[in-house]
Subunit: 346 residues, 2 copies
């Protein structure tokens, strides 16, 4: 996803400064952020997971120093580094446990190894929680006291922030809300995790693609059939559904509306559990956001489902919107978590 | 429900002292509690909701003073009073908004009126959250960092505590987890709130009675048929199901196991959202707790469903147990919330 934030100059920036690292299965993004969550620099490097975690930790450490230089700062200007990483993990221990998208990185003390390689203290958090904190601190949630972020992509990531609390759980499994059960019937859809009936099996990009293929196989007429047939396997994704929906294809639009309905149901469960100020939708599968007809229809349909199903007071007051930091939420949020830890210890 | 706690004497008690009020639709329970959550006294009075909220506020104020006297303390020994109340409510404002079980008490500033009548500062919270805080502070959750309590009765109440945070939400609707959707099909069971597919429509006492009547109407043989036929309407409740299950009736036992399975599904959703240290089951519908075969089977069945459906790390580590304070959880928890507020302001 493209960077949405503008860089600010050192002259405009407000100290203290933090560095955020967003570790992904394919790429790593590293950036320097000021005390208001505004980025001064960022750079990207390939994860190259196959080279192993120690090599990546070394390159992350180097990238931190490069990003600091790029921001025209010195290492001693940085109060702390934050690292957001995919799980499973042990957050208090700073350990990766069994990260599905980083094969062979099991039981690696990543927090301390990155800290060793950059020579700075490092705060550690789950990537979805870091993105949620980014939106909370410096994005679409910054005016609000509490927030739920759904990151819609291959899976459904989730982060919950209540005031200064990141709901990361006792076993580093807090806010795994892609895996709440919304259909408890025996033939509920199968989730990527192996269980049935999870939100992720209904409203993720993976679920949407599967549903599209089901409906096309049933012979429903749609311009999607040709798009799918012509696309290379690696390009056969929800972007095609979005584009056809935007052009007015009925089936593509129906698919988007269905996903919205399921996401609305999942959102109601979060509202009746957390009752947050705002729910944000982010990630690759936001259908172009409010800039597009389809994105607007998607948001409206989620909101409509919520208003029909949530308690009246909540339905009336909760704000539902798109996230605003795009692909920057991860590193900005990681920096925010470094800042939070720094302030809590001060 | 009977009081489970033992009183302690003033000599054993640890200052400062707090008073807790548990306001219910039928009765009000008021007790003095020490700094460790141990009750020194308690008394009960009828709510007599029909006399209106101002009258009840006056009698609650008087009961606070009586409970203090009963504990052999003086008013100036009390740091603060806590009041747990059914909703809907506005917690920060100290207002009842539209309490379903207290007809005609709409938009009443109950916190300040009780404070006026007892001459002490009053902290205000939802009753289910207060009960959860009671178990967290002084009951079955007291060794743990975070907790979810399900109160199983006519409805399903829920409270979520994470460290010092009571998850009461931005609109005083936090932890309304009786109303999370676990069945999103169009013919899902109807909840008392008017919506479909809510946990409460599957695992509350009301749901269990409805299901029992359905199965009996279908002609399933059971000793319950005779018990139900002979019981006065006001005694036709889940206690009969429990007693027949305990005696070995197959259908009664099946009903208990079904409720446990649904509750297990709801619990998984809480685990994948909050990831708490412990989940407690309390309220009238706990089938005698661990002291009975049926209670043990109920707890085992909830645990089994959770272990099958939750992430492995959570399934392995989370503790699931019965609450321990019984009907005292409400006033002890309300006192605990008074203590929490007192400490946060100190």
């Amino acid at each position: 996803m493209p960077a949405k934030s503008q860089f600010i100059s050192l002259r405009e920036a407000q100290s203290p400064f933090f560095v955020g690292i967003d570790l992904g299965g394919t790429n790593i993004k590293v950036g320097v952020v000021d005390d208001w969550g505004r980025p001064l620099s960022w750079l990207s490097l390939p994860t190259e997971a196959e080279k192993g975690p120690e090599d990546a930790a070394r390159r992350m450490g180097e990238a931190v120093l490069k990003a600091i230089k790029k921001a025209k700062l010195q290492k001693h200007d940085i109060s702390r580094v934050g690292l957001g990483s995919p799980g499973t993990m042990d957050i208090p221990a700073g350990m990766l446990v069994n990260p599905v998208n980083l094969k062979g990185w099991d039981n690696f003390p990543i927090r301390d190894r990155v800290s060793f390689h950059c020579g700075l203290p490092v705060a550690f958090q789950n990537d979805a929680n870091a993105a949620a904190y980014g939106e909370f601190w410096a994005g679409a949630g910054k005016e609000y006291h509490s927030l739920v972020l759904f990151t819609l992509g291959t899976g459904i990531g989730c982060g919950i922030i209540i005031g200064d609390l990141i709901v990361d759980g006792e076993n580093s499994h807090g806010a795994e809300c892609g895996h709440i059960i919304i259909d408890s019937s025996d033939d509920a859809r199968l989730c990527g995790c192996g269980q049935r009936g999870h939100l992720e099996a209904y409203a993720s990009a993976t679920a949407l693609m599967k549903r599209a293929e089901e409906l096309l196989a049933e012979g429903h007429p749609s311009s999607l059939a040709r798009r799918f047939a012509r696309a290379k396997p690696q390009n056969r994704n929800t972007k095609l559904i979005f584009e056809e929906a935007e052009k007015g294809d009925k089936l593509a639009n129906q698919l988007v509306m269905e996903a919205a309905r399921w996401l609305g149901i999942g959102t109601v469960n979060l509202l009746h559990t957390i009752d947050p100020s705002i729910v944000l939708l982010g990630g690759a599968m936001t259908f172009g956001g409010k800039a597009t007809k389809t994105g607007k229809r998607f948001l409206d349909a989620v909101t409509r489902e919520v208003k029909q199903r949530a308690f009246p007071t909540i339905a009336q007051r909760v704000k539902i919107d798109f996230a605003s930091l795009g692909g920057d939420a991860g590193f900005i949020g990681a920096a925010g978590i470094a800042r939070l830890e720094h302030r809590q210890e001060a």
